[in-house]
Every structure is written in structure tokens, then in C-alpha cells.
């Protein structure tokens, strides 16, 4: 009886005013603490954004809007003092971008190889890649994942490339459409809160 009363009263919590929340975007960043980011010289940003949907076949987003997002990352990495090179083969690090259009393949965003749920995820010539750090994020549609992969340091034990930095930005949808200005703000914030990136 008493437990029931407590349960009823516990349901009388005053919910906070979530309208007051600045819902514009949420930014997570994480990095490999063993990486010397000052030693990186060159980078390459893949010019198409992988769309993670409910189809097993990977699709890529490549239009003027996606190009603006790619350019924003290019500008930010150049701002860090890294040199943009024309091909992935020449780069010390590669930035791969993915857009979550549907969470069908996401049971959670970490810890663990959540990306293995999606058959079409980035796979560098069969090398694959791994995260040297753990994380546990919440996830939602309308999110962009950016992963900085170190091409010079394959793990000798499993021959996988190392993700040395990643950002996860969500809250980018305005209705059903991606808000570019919000996306730019979130990309900027990802670099603001990653001061270790740079020469």
C-alpha cells in the first residue's frame, strides 16, 4: 500500500520545460589520447557523405549541400594547420563523413562495433578500422558522424586503421530538412571543443 502511494507520488514530478532547451544541436567529440596530433601533416576529406539508412546497399550524398559540409570540414582541418592533399593515398589522415538518415541499423552508438550493424559502412579496401577508445552516445536521425582515420598507423595486431578523432553531431533537422546553418554551427563547435587538433 505504502509502495503504491510512493509510486503514485513519484509520478507527480513536475516535468521540466523542455521547450526552454536549446534544441538546436548536440555535439560529442572524442579522441585517441595516444595520438600526437601535432605530428600530422596532411589530410583528405572524402567528398561524398555516406548515408546510413534502412537499405543494406550504401548510398552516398553528393550534391551542393553535402559539398558545403565537406568544405566546412576541409576549412576547419586547414585551420588546424594541416595540409589538404588531392588524394587519400597522399594523406596522413582521412576524414570520413556519415549521415544517419534512419536508425534501423543502430541498436546503440557504442560501446562496441556498432558500425558493424550496417553492411555498407566505410571499409578501406578490406582493411577496416577500429576505435582505440570507448564511448557511449545516444543517437538519433539527422546526425552526422565524422571520423578521422590515421592511414599511417595500421594496428599491427589486427591490421586495422585507427580512428584517432570523431565527432557526433545531432539535432540538425529543421522539420524534415537538414538545417545547413545549424550544421555549420555544430561543425564549428566540434572543433572548438577539440583544442588538441592542430599543429
Amino acid at each position: 500500500m505504502f509502495a503504491a502511494v510512493c509510486a503514485v507520488l513519484a509520478s507527480c514530478q513536475k516535468d521540466p520545460d523542455t521547450d526552454k532547451l536549446d534544441n538546436h544541436y548536440l555535439v560529442y567529440t572524442n579522441y585517441d589520447s595516444n595520438t600526437d596530433f601535432k605530428s600530422i601533416e596532411s589530410f583528405y576529406v572524402i567528398d561524398s557523405i555516406l548515408i546510413i539508412g534502412n537499405s543494406e546497399k550504401p548510398a552516398y550524398w553528393n550534391n551542393s549541400n553535402s559539398q558545403k559540409i565537406v568544405n566546412a570540414y576541409n576549412d576547419k582541418l586547414e585551420g588546424c594547420g594541416y595540409i589538404m592533399v588531392p588524394t587519400a593515398d597522399e594523406a596522413d589522415v582521412i576524414l570520413q563523413l556519415s549521415y544517419i538518415n534512419n536508425t534501423y541499423y543502430f541498436s546503440s552508438f557504442g560501446p562496441g562495433p556498432w558500425w558493424s550493424s550496417y553492411p555498407g559502412y566505410w571499409n578501406w579496401g578490406g582493411w577496416g578500422w577500429y576505435y582505440p577508445y570507448t564511448f557511449n552516445y545516444s543517437y538519433s536521425t539527422g546526425s552526422i558522424i565524422a571520423e578521422l582515420v590515421n592511414t599511417n598507423a595500421p594496428n599491427p595486431q589486427n591490421d586495422k586503421l585507427t580512428v584517432i578523432w570523431n565527432s557526433y553531431i545531432c539535432g540538425l533537422l529543421n522539420g524534415n530538412n537538414l538545417s545547413l546553418s545549424r550544421t555549420m554551427d555544430a561543425i564549428n563547435q566540434a572543433f572548438v571543443q577539440s583544442p588538441y587538433l592542430g599543429k
Binding site: V5, C6, L9, A10, S11, C12, Q13, K14, D15, P16, D17, T18, K20, L21, D22, N23, Y25, L26, V27, Y28, T29, N30, Y31, D32, S33, Y133, F135, S138, S140, C170, G171, Q189, V192, Q193, S194
Partner: protein
């Protein structure tokens, strides 16, 4: 808030119906009951420092002597605080940037002792509540929420009065209180070892 208001109205209506049938100013000269609206001000709380009136108190006691009553109590309260956009260092390498809404809900209950100075229409008193405290700490950010619930020991001294201005009717209750609970919070980057607060209660006396 609507839920609390509805609960309060139901309790008030039930009491108004019940009291005249007893034919006394109090339900019993040997006992008392209070139902209160509660205003709570957290002190030095990093998780939620927002004062609010989102709470209620229920208590009753039996006078084992003309001055001293022992009884039981239960109250609940919600304190919310908005945190503007900022970056939280969730680990040595993991950062998160967002605005947040913090919600702290407390539900203490237990035993009480009350000493009333005079047995009259106006009955000033001092009292002490001791018991357990259930608490929930919720952090809302973007569309997500992180949550933690904890139990602790609760202690709350108070001063106040019951006032019965009319014969054969209900009276009023007012109290000032301080509360201390050992509930700990360790949610994201927010840590709280104890819960301190002051406040007042305004309600009905039977």
C-alpha cells in the same frame, strides 16, 4: 504542475467532506493531520539550485501527552534548473556540448515528533522529521535524458503553527523547515554528496 494541483484539490475536497461529520474543530483532540503545499529552496546544490513550489507535504500525529505528538510524514518535491549551452568533459577524452534541463525529485518519508507549546486555537510548535529519502536526478539534453536514483537518510527540523479559527471546521497550517538528506548524485559531470534545503509549508490542519 497540473497533476499536483489536481491531487491537492482532490485532497482538499475529501477533507472538506470529512471534517464536518466529526463535529469538532479538529478530527480528534488527541491527534492532528496536515496537508500542505510546499515551497523548497535548495542550498548549495550543484545539480539543481532552482527554488520551486512544486511539492506537497502530508503528515499526521498522535499526542501521547498534551504537548508531544508522534506520527508519520511523507512529502515530495521537484526542483528544476536550466543550464545554458556549455561543454561537459565526460571523460579525459570525451566532450559533449549542449544546453540542459536538470530535474531533482525528492520523496522523504518517515517518523516525526512534534512539541506544541499551547493547546489552543493557535498552536505553535517545533518538530523534527526523521526517515528515508528517495531521490531522482534527471538531466535532459537535446532529446535525450540521463537519470540516476538514490536513497538516503533524511532529517528535517521545523517550526510552525496550526491555527483553528473556527469551531467545527478545518484550520490552517504554516511551517518553516530545514532539511538534510544524505542522497548522493554523480551524474555526468555533476556531483552532490548531500541535499540541503530550506522552505515553507502552507496548508490545512485537521
Amino acid at each position: 504542475m497540473k497533476t499536483i494541483s489536481k491531487l491537492f484539490c482532490i485532497a482538499l475536497f475529501a477533507c472538506v467532506l470529512a471534517v464536518p461529520s466529526r463535529g469538532k474543530a479538529q478530527i480528534s483532540l488527541d491527534s492532528y493531520y496536515n496537508i500542505d503545499w510546499q515551497f523548497n529552496i535548495p542550498l548549495g546544490n550543484d545539480f539543481s539550485n532552482g527554488a520551486s513550489g512544486w511539492g506537497m507535504n502530508f503528515e499526521g500525529g498522535y499526542y501521547v501527552t498534551p504537548q508531544i505528538a508522534v506520527g508519520a510524514f511523507l512529502n515530495f518535491h521537484t526542483n528544476n534548473e536550466y543550464f545554458s549551452r556549455r561543454t561537459l568533459e565526460l571523460s579525459n577524452t570525451l566532450s559533449m556540448n549542449s544546453s540542459q534541463q536538470h530535474q531533482m525529485f525528492t520523496l522523504p518519508f518517515g517518523a516525526l515528533v512534534r512539541y506544541r507549546f499551547i493547546e489552543a486555537d493557535l498552536q505553535p510548535y517545533v518538530g523534527m522529521k526523521l526517515g528515508a529519502c528517495y531521490s531522482e536526478f534527471n538531466n535532459y539534453y537535446y532529446i535525450f535524458m540521463s537519470s540516476q536514483d538514490r536513497w538516503g537518510f533524511y532529517m528535517s527540523p521545523e517550526v510552525g503553527f496550526n491555527w483553528y479559527p473556527w469551531a467545527n471546521s478545518i484550520g490552517f497550517h504554516f511551517a518553516l523547515y530545514y532539511s538534510f538528506a544524505t542522497n548522493k548524485c554523480n551524474l555526468m559531470t555533476y556531483k552532490q554528496d548531500i541535499l540541503n534545503s530550506i522552505g515553507f509549508r502552507l496548508g490545512l490542519a485537521f
